[in-house]
Symmetry: C2
Subunit: 423 residues, 2 copies
Amino acid sequence: MRAELLAVGDELLYGDIVNGNAAWLGGQLADVGVTLERSVVVGDDVGTIAAAIRSALDRADTVLITGGLGPTQDDLTREGVAAAAGGVEVRRVEALADELARRYERQGRGDALPSMNFRQAELPVGAEPLPNLAGTAPGVRMEIGAGVVYAMPGVPFEMTAMFTASVLPDLLRRAGQPAVVVHRVLRTAGMWESSVAQALAEAVDRLAPIGNPRIAFLASEGQTRVRITARARDRAEADVLIAPVETAARAALGDGVYGSDDDTLEGVVLALLGARSATLAVAESITGGLLAGRLTEVPGSSAVFRGGVVSYATQVKASVLGVDADVLATRGPVSAETAAAMATGVRDRLGADYGLSTTGVAGPGSAQGHPPGTVHLGLAGPRGVITRLVRLPGDRARVRMFAVVSALDLLRRTLTVGSDVAV
Amino acid sequence: MRAELLAVGDELLYGDIVNGNAAWLGGQLADVGVTLERSVVVGDDVGTIAAAIRSALDRADTVLITGGLGPTQDDLTREGVAAAAGGVEVRRVEALADELARRYERQGRGDALPSMNFRQAELPVGAEPLPNLAGTAPGVRMEIGAGVVYAMPGVPFEMTAMFTASVLPDLLRRAGQPAVVVHRVLRTAGMWESSVAQALAEAVDRLAPIGNPRIAFLASEGQTRVRITARARDRAEADVLIAPVETAARAALGDGVYGSDDDTLEGVVLALLGARSATLAVAESITGGLLAGRLTEVPGSSAVFRGGVVSYATQVKASVLGVDADVLATRGPVSAETAAAMATGVRDRLGADYGLSTTGVAGPGSAQGHPPGTVHLGLAGPRGVITRLVRLPGDRARVRMFAVVSALDLLRRTLTVGSDVAV
């Protein structure tokens, strides 16, 4: 099955917004083996929309449209689909109008739905509505010749909900394919994308040779995700396809895997600490507050996270964290000894069970004889203190981001070795 | 003049990357009054690329292509342009090959340029090269019939450099328009986009009524930028067009404007402190490290920024920052009194000239009777301490981001009132 995308909206052409919908839909179609051959953006003009639909249907079996379903005069996708279908009428559907009015009434604004909004209750004759689970405008499904056109809203969360619930199942049915697509994501930290891919090479060849399940590697922000995608008749069958691949992947990646699906590294670290009723404090130099900022992104983190000290000036490392002036003078602020003393100092001063520290050189340029990317991490706990030296690539922002991930991952790995915690 | 965009690359269709180039080029073309009618993405296939170019030239005067100029076998834009031009030959240009080899040699790797890379020295017969100021692959300019095709690299910073230096001047010349486009950006903080637009409404009508200069408002991350764009024959003439609009805009916006062009709020704050030889420390509760993280993004910030305390747990506010236990008990951690004591405490304990603090409720949900978005800021200096209560919109992440911007802006405004600094 061959597909084309058509996004409608002047704001896309003028560059006011980026066409992220196309990237998301492209990924979804690739996952289920539908070939996407072209992706087009046009402005708010009925003739242009209709011409783009007709020319796409000359080449492809289906056209997925996003945008242009709103209530205003420049929302013209319904009229464009009608024109592409040979000029059929666009007509108000009373059941849709009633539903729009009821929905508005439930919001309790006390006035009547503005009449312009009833444009969203109109459909080309011969089209079917697609339910909008996340907003007001219904989608449009229309067969034109041997092809089928789906029109979805441009608002991303409305579009993704409608695609998943209505468009994808219908597409797969037309393609004679199984009807559900299930993803399982394994999240790794402390491994580069190439190491993850290499570790899984054998498992991929053995367990996913025919493309179902399909395995993809996605690297971003210092972490690599492994996405296992299965197509099947139902959820249970998809789970059966995914299970052996997931088991093999987890075995190959070992403790590189910190979680699955929507887990975050900071969330997993906080949960590991919470399960031990342990608290955490951080002492930051190179990361300058970003480590604390990441931990406090998580709602409820205050149950575990006591706080931190950003000891940016060397003197603050001594005065606030109690790092020995002698250590700072002889080993320097960028050293394992300083990292250890920072971790111990913040644990002590903030009354936490664990103290985690970062010190290093973010760049640009070397400092105190150390090249950018040199980072010492410290972790102090009830049983003692450990340090790690890591060498991180990239510019100032990337070195700092990798240092945050490395520090969180050091704590995670230390807490997950079982009862035998080193610190 | 009517233009179309064509982006080439399977990775765009599969959703591995978002087509940000199209949004950037769309904005650039809108700025100079070129009408962008369509934006298309196709995969790495010569026939498809050629068909897309031909069909775009049927409708438009120019086609701007991005991507497919790399050295590998799936980089096929040169061949696509040649096919669209009626099947002309793609031929190696010795001058380009020499330049590629020299460039490689200058990188000092010691080996010879891999032969595949010489594909980047090839051009369709009749085309001209466009210099690549930021990378290796030259661009392609080719007249086909009455239209002109420009092919640029897909790597964003190479593309933007080539568009600005070569493509845009050539386009404007063909359109019979002035030859340079100059932007001046005024950066504001502490004002919503609608307030900025309203403050400038009169100035816009009076000074920029005919669209040259053109004024745009761009809101992101709690700040609003005012972009003044002028087209002129040369830089000096553009500056003359921009000057009165900039003067009027600055007068209308007053101390809402913190800087221009590439300035950042944190950079301006650090520079203001540096000019007074003053130092800064921060005490963070709601922002949880993000304020310190933002200040330490700036290389060289260590000359001014001493560090901070993330006093997330209430007890840490007392033990590390010395906030009075009585204040915490009677006024609560989310109060002006606590914000003032945090600012004073961190100024004192870290030995800084200024102490800046944040405490509040990020959400989701209320805390201690305060709705999410309630934020108290404190600023302590040599002459005393001030506080501000702000009410910020949005979810947890946005409230925290707005709180960082509000705190930086409080410090900026206090430092820029001249010699009469309140704190």
